[in-house]
């Protein structure tokens, strides 16, 4: 865990990958950018809507007649309900069935009494006024010629506007069905009822009353209209129980937009998810065209991306879809002559509608308001598509970059590891080079340079090591010939010399020559031991007997010194190379003899804890400084003062000890005795299972 949170201990790959993850921040940053783009798009949408609405409003302004042609009664003038005249479809059939009215059913106005109701809907087709009346009356009383009395019927009063006020007149028509099918329309003429053939009507009895469609003659455009259902529930009933569409002395004003306005809106080329409203100056809807819903909100064909990017497409809640009146601050402003634009957002939904309202003016007078709406989902869809594209591109780039970086880092790491393993192969545990570094010299990047540098360093180091190791041996070789010359010359002199004094002098020269020879022999000790190690092998030896033998032979050879062997819990059998081990002991003991106080014994102790064997050569005498304790095992290092030096010490003895110890996979160290009375050289090694080896 600690490693996880300290990046410095991560390996190269993790470091690179963690840096790569920062690329992921790019899409995050882009989301903010997209929000800004969204705002910009909204602004653009609003201004384009405003521009379009201005254009349309101006077109309408130029056709002010259309507004004057429309019947647009002043609000608040009448207490009765306004009746809207809706544009009917061209293939209208007068049959009493209301299937042609389906689009407007939601606007049907109902007038109720206790048990009865009357639903009214007005339509307009080719200058004809149509009425669709639905009556709920469980007890229909038909007109019967045989029975005198009242029957169910309809009375429609209407007022048409003449050019002059005196031409304004109120007319009434009467319908009294007898049987399903075409119904005659009666008008009062001189107190007598006459059939007016200009009117057409079709009546159908229903389970719960009847429905009737009435077609007015062409050109009759009532300004006010009133429908009265004269209800009779019993035969021979004396009075009607009427249902009126308005008060007794009032009539319903008709709102009848000019067909031209409707045609104008119908022929507009609206964009998808756009809707146009043309309102009169009182906010009444003269016409509306277009739908706000989008045909498709699919962003991607990939279901996962679709799920990720597009919220489940909810149908837009269109509050205005069926409105006959529109009212808002913006419309109010437009009614006052000011254009405005805004985005209408819905609570708890990301859906929004951009709206532009523009006044339709003529000579400074506001005739109406043009409202242009557009579903912002289109912009959001665009935004999501952009996000998707960006996501796809970013993902592709990200994957590519990850792949490339991973490949590159893997290659780099493997090259570095290769370099490391090449070095490990040629450098042994003690840091000596076994063979020159074999690395091809490449002319490439910095790692190749590193390779080259290692190669150069390695070969120089190897040459240096090799040179050092062979120097003594070579030197001894080179010196042997001149020594041989001196020696043979002196020998010759000695053989032919009869003068006793001269012979002494020659003998001295020979002794000196002998010493020189000894020094040279010592110089090649290290390489000699190395040669011996190449052929030596470990064998199972009775170690106690071995030590006893060696120590007793030292005791017999060096009678001036005393040796003491102390063995403690030691396994008898040890795996050693006896010749080499004896040589190592030889060096250690001869070192101890050089420094020891002859009055105290040289102690050779061997003890074992578990598998760890510790052999110590302890002598009383001068101590060794801490700084020198490692150095003394180096090649050609001798730390002796003049008195201790015998003159031909080359500092190779302890180096040979180290070499032989390493051959036995043992560690060698030196420490001062606790009371600083002397030093102890320790050889430590792990005992190998002798039985397994042997």
């Amino acid at each position: 865990m600690i490693k996880l949170f300290s990046p410095s201990s991560w390996n190269l790959k993790s470091k690179f990958l963690s840096i790569l993850l920062l690329i992921l921040l790019i899409p995050l940053a882009s989301i903010g950018l997209l929000k800004e783009i969204e705002n910009a798009l909204f602004e653009q949408l609003k201004s384009s809507l405003l521009l379009s609405s201005k254009m349309l409003a101006e077109q309408l302004s130029q056709n002010e007649k259309w507004f004057y042609d429309s019947l647009l009664p002043e609000k608040n003038k009448s207490s009765s309900k306004e009746l809207f005249v809706f544009p009917l479809n061209e293939n209208f059939e007068l049959d009493g069935y209301f299937e042609e009215w389906v689009d407007f059913e939601k606007h049907r106005q109902y007038f109720n009494t206790k048990n009865h109701s009357m639903g009214l809907l007005l339509g307009n087709l080719e200058r004809h006024l149509f009425l669709s009346i639905q009556i709920n009356d469980p007890h229909l009383i038909y007109k019967n010629a045989q029975v005198q009395g009242l029957a169910d019927g309809l009375q429609i009063d209407f007022e048409t506007l003449g050019l002059k006020p005196k031409d304004t007149q109120i007319q009434s028509i009467y319908l009294s069905p007898t049987i399903s099918g075409n119904v005659s329309v009666l008008v009062k003429n001189n107190h007598a009822m006459k059939i007016d053939w200009r009117y057409k009507a079709s009546w159908i009895a229903t389970n719960n009353g009847y429905s009737i469609e009435i077609k007015f003659p062409s050109g009759i455009k009532p300004q006010l209209l009133k429908v009265t259902h004269k209800n009779v529930d019993r035969e021979r009933q004396k009075n009607y129980q009427s249902i009126n569409s308005s008060g007794r002395y009032a009539m319903n004003p008709l709102v009848w937009p000019s067909q031209k306005i409707i045609n104008f809106s119908k022929h507009l080329a609206l964009k998808k998810a756009q809707r146009i409203w043309i309102l009169d100056r009182q906010g009444r809807v003269l016409t509306s065209q277009g739908k706000l819903g989008l045909s498709s909100t699919k962003v991607s064909s990939n279901p996962i991306l679709q799920w990720l990017l597009a919220a489940p497409a909810k149908a837009l809640i269109d509050r205005r879809a069926n409105a006959l009146h529109l009212d808002s601050v913006q419309i109010y402003r437009a009614q006052r002559g000011q254009a405005s634009t805004f985005v209408e957002r819905y609570k708890n939904s990301d859906q929004a509608v951009a709206i532009a309202s523009y006044p339709i003016k003529n000579n400074g007078e506001v005739l109406g308001v043009l409202l242009l709406e557009e579903n912002v989902a289109k912009v959001q869809l665009l935004q999501k598509k952009a996000l998707l594209n960006m996501f796809a591109v970013a993902l592709a780039i990200f994957l590519l970059v990850i792949f490339l970086v991973y490949w590159y880092v893997s290659r780099m790491v493997s090259r570095i590891q290769h370099l490391k393993s090449s070095i490990d192969q040629v450098v042994d545990q003690q840091g000596r080079m076994k063979e020159p570094l074999q690395i091809e010299d490449l002319q490439g990047d910095e790692i190749d340079d590193l390779y080259a540098a290692f190669y150069q360093m390695g070969s120089r180091l190897y040459d240096y090591n090799d040179h050092l190791e062979k120097l003594a041996s070579r030197l001894s070789h080179e010196l042997r010939t001149p020594i041989a010359i001196v020696r043979s010359s002196l020998d010759n002199l000695l053989i032919s010399c009869n003068d006793a004094e001269d012979r002494i002098i020659i003998q001295r020269a020979l002794d000196g020559n002998q010493r020189l020879g000894d020094i040279i022999n010592r110089m090649k000790q290290a390489s000699g031991v190395k040669d011996a190690m190449q052929t030596a092998s470990l064998e199972k030896v009775n170690f106690v007997q071995f030590l006893t033998q060696v120590i007793s032979s030292y005791q017999s050879s060096f009678k001036d010194y005393s040796f003491k062997l102390s063995i403690n819990q030691l396994d008898k059998s040890q795996n050693i190379a006896p010749d080499l081990f004896a040589e190592m002991l030889d060096k250690l003991i001869s070192n101890a003899m050089s420094f020891c106080d002859p009055s105290s014994p040289i102690v050779i102790s061997a003890e074992q804890k578990d598998k760890l064997v510790c052999l110590k050569v302890i002598n009383k005498g001068p101590t060794i400084d801490k700084k020198n304790r490692k150095r003394i095992f180096h090649s050609l290092v001798s730390i002796r003062n003049k008195q201790q030096s015998t003159g031909n010490n080359l500092g190779l003895g302890l180096y040979v000890v180290k070499l032989i110890a390493e051959f036995h996979q043992a560690k060698v160290k030196v420490e001062n005795l606790q009371d600083d009375s002397g030093v102890a050289f320790c050889i430590l090694w792990q005992q190998v299972d002798c039985n397994a080896k042997s």
Partner: protein, 232 residues
């Protein structure tokens, strides 16, 4: 008639020194400083004894070639190798050139004279088949002929050099007695050098082991030297 000794040595000072000393002993000495001169001379007439340096001028192994040439001409001609490198002793031994002795150059003249005298004695003994007093050392299966400087193991001849013969003799003469390296070198009339004794002993063991696998009579006494371990 004076014995003819051929000395092939490229180091003039050494060869002159050796030559002057040998001449004083009554030998006839011929010095050659390169392989070709020596071979040319040997084509005409073989010496009675040859002392060869291994490296001759530009030819690091010129001495070996001369030795092969001489051995091809005569199987009994005594040959002594002189070398500056101890490590070369193993090479010479390994090559089985049939040399009678190989010595390092730091050997003293007295020692060299002793060897030459011993080799001539061996030749004389072999050639003349002199009815000398029998002088043998026999230990276990080892038999040393002190007149002919030859050795055999279970009656099979041991191909050993003069130095090796003297070392073996020193050990076998007193079985069970430890001989230090110094004592062994003294016996072998060679310079005192621990590692030289060690390698001589190694070579000796190898030669006898070639005849008998379980041979372990030459025992190392660590810290002291070697001894001939009598068979139980």
């Amino acid at each position: 008639m004076a014995k003819r000794i051929a000395l092939v040595e490229d180091e003039k000072a050494i060869s002159e020194n050796y030559a002057s000393s040998l001449r004083k002993q009554g030998y006839e000495v011929y010095i050659y400083d390169c392989k070709q001169d020596a071979l040319n001379a040997f084509e005409t007439r073989l010496p009675d004894l040859a002392i060869l340096d291994v490296g001759l001028g530009d030819e690091p192994e010129g001495g070996f070639e001369i030795c092969r040439f001489l051995r091809a001409k005569s199987s009994s001609l005594p040959i002594i190798f002189l070398t500056a490198l101890d490590s070369e002793l193993d090479t010479i031994s390994g090559l089985r050139l049939g040399a009678d002795d190989y010595l390092t150059k730091d050997i003293s003249l007295t020692q060299i004279l002793a060897r030459i005298a011993a080799l001539f004695r061996r030749i004389n003994a072999l050639e003349k088949g002199l009815q000398q007093e029998e002088a043998f050392v026999e230990v276990d299966a080892l038999k040393l002929d002190l007149n002919r400087f030859t050795a055999s193991w279970r009656n099979a001849p041991l191909d050993i050099t003069l130095t090796e013969f003297w070392i073996l003799n020193a050990l076998a003469k007193n079985p069970g007695h430890v001989k230090t390296r110094e004592q062994l070198m003294e016996a072998a009339k060679a310079v005192v050098d621990d590692s030289t004794v060690t390698s001589h002993i190694k070579r000796l063991r190898k030669k006898i082991i070639a005849l008998e696998k379980d041979f372990e009579q030459i025992e190392t006494v660590y810290g002291m030297g070697y001894r001939w371990k009598p068979r139980d």
